[in-house]
């Protein structure tokens, strides 16, 4: 009989065994792929099998929201500064990107809460929940991109070559949302206030981010814009998609680099916190 590698459980903090910790993280990330895929299919099928509209729901919110804002703008209820493409397209792209960010923000905690009973019963690679959440974000995004391309064709918006860089900016935006989402998981799993609070937070955040309006050019708007990490990522992604000049590249690179670093830290925190969360939360 061949011996498998030894498993050792001790109370010694994992940070004091950094090599073991990092090896474990990478090993589990790879091992989590198949499980993440299965859980994603399970979740999507469960959500849409019981609904008549099914996957069409992914289209409905951006269309309705865009229609609403275009109506308000055209009737001068909201005074929005001029944009260099039709306002409807401007808003639609903004809302699409914003929703992608909020999906990435909410999904990790939603997934961990949905699978909390499995967490407490089986020792599976926990990274599967984060990967699965990411998969769900990408599926929703793919559906919206299809809708976006249809709209571009309809309104005869010319596609410029810089649109090929748009995925980079979108990935950075998803990364930022995922980073915040993963950082919230430990406290969010313990205290119900977090889950409730995130919805309120994203509502206010929406108002402070240039989603339905172009980036502010006067104080105090510019200060808010500089402090808001979503702003450079969302603005750059939109500019790449609609082919206008890039105005916030500096901010984009700073935030994107910090996102990569903080996402790794968030992942490590997630891994360190989980055994403690499982024992406090029960199954």
């Amino acid at each position: 009989m061949t011996w498998s590698p030894e498993i050792l459980y001790t109370p010694v903090p994992l940070l004091r065994q950094p090599l073991t910790l990092v090896r474990g993280m990478i090993r589990d990330l790879f091992a989590a792929r198949h499980l993440a895929y299965r859980l994603l299919i399970r979740n999507l099928a469960s959500q849409y099998r019981r609904s008549l509209l099914g996957y069409l729901w992914a289209f409905v919110t951006p269309i309705v929201a865009t229609g609403g804002f275009v109506f308000l703008n055209s009737h001068q209820v909201l005074r929005i500064v001029e944009t260099n493409v039709p306002y409807g397209i401007y808003v639609f792209v903004g809302i699409l990107l914003w929703q992608t960010f909020t999906d990435a923000f909410h999904c990790p905690l939603q997934w961990v809460l949905a699978f909390r009973s499995v967490l407490g019963r089986v020792n599976f690679p926990r990274e599967a929940l984060i990967l699965g959440a990411l998969g769900e974000v990408l599926v929703q995004l793919a559906i919206r991109i299809i809708l976006l391309l249809i709209l571009f064709l309809w309104f005869r918006i010319g596609l410029t070559s810089i649109i090929l860089l748009a995925p980079v900016a979108i990935v950075a935006l998803i990364g930022l949302g995922l980073m915040f989402g993963v950082l919230l998981v430990p406290v969010g799993l313990l205290y119900g206030d977090i889950e409730k609070g995130t919805h309120l937070a994203t509502m206010l955040w929406f108002l402070m981010t240039p989603v339905i309006y172009p980036p502010p050019i006067s104080w105090p708007g510019t200060l808010l814009n500089q402090l808001n990490p979503v702003s450079p990522l969302l603005t750059t992604a939109r500019e790449l998609l609609i082919g206008s000049s890039l105005t916030q590249l500096d901010g984009f690179f700073i935030v994107a680099s910090l996102t990569v670093l903080c996402l790794c830290i968030g992942w490590m925190l997630f891994r360190l916190a989980l055994p403690h969360l499982v024992e406090r939360v029960g199954s």
Binding site: I7, T10, R38, A45, V122, L269, A273, L277, E279
Partner: protein, 414 residues
């Protein structure tokens, strides 16, 4: 080459907190310490904390089947969760060479809207079976589950037993090195239980190690040769199963009913008759033997007179799970009087057909006309116990292992 220990558990302890809000706050504190790389302080215990497990140690080799006995809250599930790596110990260490599969809750991860077939993939993936392996084993899993055409029906329409069958069918196709089984046999029909048992015994015979938690003494004794007994988190015994069952039964009796010394009950208006004790003695012999006779004497105190009354007793196995016999004195018109003050009733049971073991006896005094109990013994307090002595023969050992109760007088025809 002699195998080293397969599983080594050394001096592990685990504490929990009774109060939810404090528990969540301690969770924040523990996570902060973990994130800063600082050691957790196992002692002293913080406010409202208690030891769910304290200083437990044991070793397992390949092919060992270890039973875990203990009352609810003794720490059995905590120990399984520690072995499964779901939570970390507060002291000591656990070393395991190999893969661990829990059979703790079958069908984990089942989505109610998906069919049985689709859920096989989900549950398999959670337990570590990739999709292509599930594809190879799909027919075998469906055959094993024996749920017929329901395999393509949403799981929300399954009974608990069917979910357990399906979950077990998936788990049975894993090949772990250590299997942890926790009361999964409580759900499911006889056929399912038999299938589970066969699977477990084959697994042990093929060199796997097994830890089995159950409250069913018959199952524990048929699978495990060795048992641990846990009591309020401490390991009180590690040894042979029959001895472990005896210790567990004793703990059960004492904890259910408390120490007899504390219970001094006197007759009062709501309970005018109290049965103080029931004595069981060998009748016209030195000790109680199979086929011998016993005298049962019930001692009571009463505030008032009752007439007519009758009395009786019931005989139970030591674990009080099987009721062997019930006998009540016939009320045949002769007035049976219960006088006020102290008194006793007595009877003789001739030719006990029981095998040498410990037994329990419960008793009661009843109104002869209505059958209502006037006083009872062995229900709210510990039952009276006695032991039938016998020689240490192979036949008697066999009876004990097989959990027999009676010995029949058989005349074999050639």
């Amino acid at each position: 080459m002699k195998h080293q220990s397969f599983v080594e558990v050394h001096s592990i302890s685990k504490k929990f907190c009774r109060n939810l809000k404090k528990s969540l706050w301690y969770g924040i504190q523990d996570i902060s310490r973990e994130v800063l790389g600082r050691s957790q302080h196992a002692e002293p215990l913080r406010n409202e904390e208690f030891w769910a497990l304290h200083d437990v140690s044991f070793k397992l080799s390949p092919g060992d089947a270890l039973g875990l006995l203990g009352r609810n809250g003794a720490g059995k599930t905590t120990l399984l969760r520690l072995l499964n790596g779901l939570i970390r110990p507060d002291t000591g260490f656990i070393k395991i060479h190999g893969r661990v599969t829990p059979l703790i809750e079958l069908g984990t991860g089942f989505a109610p809207v998906l069919t049985g077939r689709e859920n096989i993939y989900v549950n398999g993936a959670i337990l570590g079976l990739p999709g292509r392996v599930v594809d190879d084993f799909m027919d075998a899993i469906i055959d094993f589950a024996e749920i017929g055409d329901f395999i393509d029906t949403p799981v929300q329409s399954y009974s608990e037993g069917m979910k357990a069958r399906l979950g077990f069918a998936v788990a049975a196709h894993l090949v772990p090195d250590l299997m942890l089984v926790d009361e999964v046999l409580a759900v499911g029909d006889l056929g399912f239980q038999r299938k589970c048992l066969n699977h477990m015994t084959t697994f042990i015979r093929n060199g796997g190690a097994l830890i089995f938690v159950s409250h069913n003494m018959h199952l524990i004794q048929s699978i495990c040769e060795r048992c641990l007994v846990l009591d309020t988190g401490k390991m009180v015994f590690d040894g042979t199963t029959p001895k472990a069952v005896e210790i567990y039964s004793t703990l059960n009796n004492h904890s259910n009913y408390g120490s007899d010394d504390n219970k001094i009950i006197t007759p009062n208006d709501s309970n005018p008759v109290i049965i103080d004790r029931v004595d069981i003695q060998p009748f016209e012999a030195v000790d109680i033997r199979p086929g011998g006779a016993i005298q049962i004497t019930l001692y009571f105190r009463s505030l008032e007179e009752f007439v007519p009354v009758t009395w009786g007793f019931s005989l139970w196995t030591e674990d009080q799970e099987v009721r062997i016999a019930t006998n009540v004195a016939k009320y045949d018109g002769k007035l049976h009087r219960l006088c006020s003050g102290s008194g006793n009733f007595s009877c003789v049971v001739k030719e006990l057909p029981l095998i040498p073991r410990k037994y329990c006896l419960k008793s009661g005094i009843y109104d002869a006309m209505t059958g209502w109990p006037i006083a009872r013994f062995g229900w709210e307090q510990a039952a009276a116990c006695f032991e039938i002595n016998g020689e240490e023969t192979e036949a008697n050992s066999r009876h004990r292992i097989d959990q027999d109760i009676v010995n029949l007088n058989v005349e074999w025809v050639d």
